[in-house]
């Protein structure tokens, strides 16, 4: 009887261990596969020509992804420039100034914003934003980098707001009391002291937003035009992500084009790993204070 119980216990312990390792296995599989599938094209094209080549024309076997890298960087930067002030101001309001009932409402709004599927953002952008931009700036088509930046801004907003809000709420009361006792107003205290004290949490939220923006595909494929140009604010552009989606369905199996798309995936993966690493660094520094 005891033996039987022992082996059953051992058996289940093993099962749970395997489940635990599942996540590790996934990460390894993903890394390995992206590497395996991404390297061949890079080998064939040459790392420098691939990363820094300014022309991507698959018909002519030209596979430089600099336009995509720059577009992704500019797009993300734009979203951050617009989204961070908006997000932090909202976060301060939520964490400090808003009466509880209003804070609840805003909270719900932020949560809902985070839950909207990317394709719905894309649809709204495509049917409302793009024609609007076209009209206002007198363009032949409103599907451009600017539209993508605006959509990305709205998409990263919930992340910045919720993480920053948590960080701001965690600021010790003593700092704020000290500031008030020196004759500062509440608003001055929030913006000079609370934000300063919540600095690492806020930075973490921004990095998270960056990760989200750089990985977004469906929302922006519907609003950015999808021509493999060097980025210009009113021009049709392709991001690292949309480049993959745009050509994958018709890239011939085993062709250099298809392999090059995998290589873009690899580059994207490395970008993301870098950003995630940065995030961990900042979070750890923050908690070590």
């Amino acid at each position: 009887m005891k033996n039987h119980k022992g082996t059953v216990e051992y058996f289940f312990r093993l099962i749970f261990l395997i489940c635990g390792i599942a996540a590790v296995f996934c990460v390894l599989a993903i890394s390995v596969y992206l590497l395996i599938s991404g390297i061949p094209a890079i080998r064939e094209i040459g790392l420098k020509d691939f990363l820094f080549g300014p022309v991507w024309k698959s018909e002519r076997n030209q596979f430089g992804i600099l336009p995509f890298i720059l577009t992704s960087i500019y797009g993300t930067a734009g979203a951050v420039i617009l989204g961070v002030p908006l997000g932090i101001l909202t976060a301060v309001f939520l964490a400090k100034a808003a009466p509880p009932r209003i804070a609840e409402i805003i909270h719900t709004c932020v949560e809902l914003l985070a839950g909207i599927p990317s394709v719905v953002y894309g649809l709204t952008g495509m049917t409302v934003l793009v024609p609007f931009i076209q009209k206002i700036f007198n363009l032949s088509s409103g599907a451009c980098l600017l539209s993508a930046i605006l959509v990305l801004t709205v998409m990263i907003l919930p992340y910045i707001i919720s993480v920053s809000e948590t960080a701001l709420r965690a600021v010790p009361k003593e700092y704020e009391e000290a500031s008030l006792a020196l004759g500062a107003t509440k608003t001055e205290t929030w913006f000079k002291i609370s934000i300063r004290a919540a600095r690492s949490g806020i930075i973490a939220s921004i990095i998270q937003g960056v990760g989200r923006a750089i990985g977004e595909a469906m929302a922006i494929i519907m609003v950015s035009g999808n021509v493999a140009n060097m980025p210009s604010i009113f021009g049709s552009v392709r991001f690292l992500t949309t480049a993959i989606v745009s050509e994958m369905s018709y890239a011939a199996y085993g062709s250099l084009q298809r392999n090059a798309l995998f290589s873009i995936g690899l580059v994207l993966f490395l970008f993301i790993m870098l950003i995630n690493g940065l995030l961990r660094l900042v979070s750890e520094r923050g908690s070590n204070k």
Partner: protein, 251 residues
């Protein structure tokens, strides 16, 4: 000696609970006044009414008046930020901002629009000297204030409060979180400061009160039981309750 702060029939409630009962007191200029009494007697609460830090508590309600140089602190049109500039505060647990020592001291002046580098340098040096910590900090002004010891942090907080040139300095048990040596330094500091500032200090340490204060106020259960010259309070108190507390029969 003139009266700098006077309270008349000061009552305070936190919600339904009354914390101060009709407190009448006259605090003199350029003296150290100690507020003593057992835990929960209302001395800290009383202190916080003077610079209206109690306003931060939602449920707090006040009746009566607090006069600072003749003007009612709770009157209409009182400029809160100006009030708190003229009546400064040092807290029980040292709470320097997570910034450099320089930026901590310069915070107050910058609030008031002081911008020039030279002017700020002057103010920082003057305040740190007044707080008797210039020597220990002059070579590391850019260092984070959080890296200093508890006693040093408290003196930095005092310097920070002095930087805006207040007239009164409120100290809420400023040494209870510190070691004896730092405590001694701060007590010395208080004695120096009273030449230029009026100091009101809450303390649960009676020896401290008798060491450094000119006048003492004894609070019990929200009421001001006795107020007078420190010597008289400690050697020949009028009220039996004061006598009991001082001789350690309770508290």
């Amino acid at each position: 000696m003139e009266t700098i702060i006077e309270t008349k029939k000061l009552n305070l409630w936190y919600g339904d609970h009354q914390a101060l009962y009709s407190v009448d007191v006259e605090i003199q200029d350029k003296e150290i006044t100690a507020l003593i009494g057992p835990s929960g007697c209302g001395k800290s609460t009383f202190l916080k009414t003077l610079n209206r830090m109690n306003d931060l508590v939602e449920s707090c309600r006040i009746e009566g008046s607090v006069f600072f140089k003749g003007k009612n602190v709770y009157g209409d049109k009182v400029n809160l930020t100006e009030l708190r500039t003229r009546i400064g505060m040092v807290f029980q647990k040292p709470n320097p901002f997570p910034m450099s020592i320089y930026d901590n001291i310069a915070y107050g002046p910058r609030l008031h629009g002081v911008k020039g580098r030279k002017k700020l340098d002057e103010i920082v040096e003057r305040s740190l000297r007044q707080a008797a910590i210039w020597g220990e900090t002059k070579d590391c002004l850019k260092k984070s204030a959080l890296g200093m010891s508890g006693g040093q942090q408290q003196r930095i907080c005092i310097a920070r409060a002095l930087a805006v040139e207040p007239e009164v300095l409120l100290m809420d048990e400023p040494t209870s979180a510190l070691d004896p040596i730092s405590t001694g330094k701060i007590e010395e500091l208080a004695l120096e400061l009273k030449e230029n500032y009026s100091i009101i200090i809450v303390t649960h340490n009676m020896q401290q009160a008798s060491r450094i204060s000119d006048k003492t106020a004894f609070f019990l259960l929200g009421k001001l039981v006795e107020f007078g010259d420190t010597e008289q309070i400690f050697n020949s108190p009028n009220d039996k309750r004061t006598d009991d507390y001082i001789s350690g029969r309770f508290g």
